[in-house]
């Protein structure tokens, strides 16, 4: 147990150092635009399908359970406003964060780890290209900008899932559903959801790049890096989510 805690602090410390290197790299030219755009497209295409595939059924199940409970109190009309709030504020950013951890995180750790094992990162260094600037920074920037967009797509697909169950399967009134949908959703909710997603994206990217960059020992090492990335970024998303929610509530809830 004590060992595990020491390890945790050591890893966090090393990621801190790594972040220092990254910030240092960001302050200097050149910035690799092409790499950034390439990675942004890649992350977007990789993540959209899994995120939609998760959020749609989650929207469905939330509507299903919500209806069950609300029928008890005779408040079915409120369904869509509650659903929209839950999805916009909470489910879309956090589940998108978890899927980005699973999909983009393991892929990035795998890519960079494979490059490390095949000595491609050393080759970059020999060619006088800073691997942190060339490999890590473009991926982080790409994640920071793409994750909010993915979160928006997640929101829409979650609401569509809810709509499907409520209107098509459980015969709620379409007009009532749509009219109440955005009743309680404020602009603050939307952009704070996007901000959350962006922070999750950067956290996942940082963890993935850290583990990928420091791979040792061939295919087994790459496997371990991808594994660690997935697990630790899910933990990071859960923990960060709680603290961001706390801060947002302090700031915006009177």
């Amino acid at each position: 147990m004590a060992q595990a805690i020491t390890n945790l602090f050591q890893t966090v410390g090393r990621i801190g150092y790594f972040t220092g290197d990254i910030l240092h790299g960001m302050a200097q030219r050149p910035f690799y635009w092409d790499e950034t755009i390439f990675n942004a497209r890649k992350v977007a295409f990789q993540c959209i399908v899994p995120v939609v595939a998760i959020l749609f059924p989650i929207g469905m199940i939330s509507a299903l359970m919500g209806l069950k409970i609300m029928t008890l109190f005779g408040t079915e009309r409120m369904l869509s406003s509650l659903l929209a709030q839950g999805i916009v504020k909470e489910m879309a950013p956090s589940l998108a964060g978890i899927m980005i951890a699973a999909q983009a995180g393991s892929a990035i750790a795998g890519e960079i780890g494979t490059m490390r094992v095949k000595e491609e990162i050393d080759a970059l260094g020999v060619m006088a290209i800073n691997p942190i600037k060339f490999l890590v920074i473009p991926r982080l920037i790409a994640l920071a900008f793409i994750c909010p967009l993915i979160s928006i797509i997640a929101t829409v697909s979650g609401m569509l899932g809810g709509l499907l169950v409520a209107v098509a399967l459980k015969a709620q009134n379409y007009g009532v559903f749509m009219a109440n949908l955005l009743n309680f959703v404020t602009l603050v909710d939307i952009w704070s959801g996007m901000l959350k997603a962006s922070i999750f994206g950067v956290a996942v990217g940082l963890i993935a790049c850290y583990y990928g960059y420091h791979v040792t020992g061939g295919a087994v090492g790459v496997g371990k890096a991808a594994n660690n990335t997935v697990v630790h970024s899910i933990v990071a998303v859960a923990v960060l989510n709680y603290f961001i929610t706390t801060i947002l509530m302090k700031v915006f809830v009177p």
């Binding site: 595990a4 899994p50 595939a53 998760i54 059924p57 989650i58 469905m60 199940i61 299903l64 359970m65 069950k68 409970i69 409120m78 509650l82 709030q85 839950g86 504020k89 909470e90 956090s94 978890i98 899927m99 699973a102 999909q103 393991s106 892929a107 750790a109 795998g110 890519e111 780890g113 494979t114 094992v117 095949k118 309680f184 061939g218 295919a219 087994v220 090492g221 790459v222 496997g223 371990k224 890096a225 991808a226 594994n227 997935v230 697990v231 899910i234 933990v235 859960a238 923990v239 989510n241 709680y242 929610t245 706390t246 509530m249 809830v253």
Partner: protein, 259 residues
């Protein structure tokens, strides 16, 4: 015209790839089914794997669920407050932990932690010809590698669900009582007010199904991994994504069926 033909060709190829994948999954499942009953699994392997999977998962699972529980309490409180129904927070935390979150997150974390570990282990065994070595030594790899892990997953799941429910409600309690100032006695009374015994065993059944999916999918992608570090990392990537998607989709149907 050529564009249409090309597009059709692309769809056809994708369909064939998908069919081939489904076929492979089918034979894979059939082999596992056969070896589950054909020969008694090695008790020592089952035990080692159960301990390993349980120990490796429980800490990280509890940590994740603690924070999820705390977050659920915060967000739920904020939403219910708009209707002046913030007293419902205990009921909300209890129901969503036991019915919704605990089984689902147990499944997801089983996929993320021991699942990816298994995918990585089996994939690197494949790459290093160790699976061929098993075959040549006349030991069936399904029987030796996969069946014990599958049984271990099923064995540890109930305990993990217990830890998960506990951690989730503990997180909710901490947030509700210390952050939001809800009365602790009222909160705990509310948590259990609407819970029935059937909620718990229905959650358990769902978690067992998720565990089955997590183990089967991880083993599948590990078993058919392409050689080299790129192959191993691809196997892990596919395993996590497919496990989490499949769990959420199956969860919908199970919920619709059970509740």
């Amino acid at each position: 015209m050529t564009a249409v033909v090309n597009a059709l060709g692309g769809v056809g190829r994708a369909a064939i790839t998908l069919l081939a994948l489904l076929g492979r999954m089918g034979t894979f499942t059939a082999e596992i089914g056969h070896w589950l009953v054909a020969r008694r699994p090695l008790a020592s392997e089952v035990l080692t794997q159960s301990v390993r999977i349980g120990v490796h998962t429980v800490g990280i699972l509890s940590c994740v669920l603690f924070f999820i529980g705390a977050n659920v309490a915060l967000v739920g409180y904020a939403i219910f407050k708009q209707f002046g129904a913030q007293e419902m927070i205990g009921i909300y935390v209890g129901l969503s932990s036991v019915i919704g979150l605990a089984p689902l997150i147990v499944g997801a974390m089983l996929g993320a932690k021991p699942g990816t570990e298994i995918a990585a282990t089996i994939a690197s065994m494949r790459v290093k010809e160790q699976i061929d070595a098993l075959e040549v030594m006349a030991v069936n790899p399904y029987w030796y590698l996969i069946v014990p892990r599958l049984i271990a997953f099923l064995l540890v799941t109930p305990a993990l669900v217990g830890f998960a429910i506990f951690a989730c409600i503990a997180g909710g309690y901490v947030a509700a009582v210390f952050q939001l100032g809800v009365n602790p006695g009222v909160f705990m009374a509310d948590v259990v007010r609407f819970l029935t015994f059937s909620d718990i065993w229905k959650g358990l059944i769902r978690a067992e199904v998720f565990a089955l999916i997590a183990c089967g999918v991880s083993c599948f992608y590990g078993f058919y991994s392409a050689p080299g570090p790129a192959g191993v990392s691809r196997a892990i990537n596919l395993a996590v994504v497919v496990v989490s998607t499949a769990i959420v989709v199956v969860n919908y149907f199970l919920t619709e069926l059970m509740y």
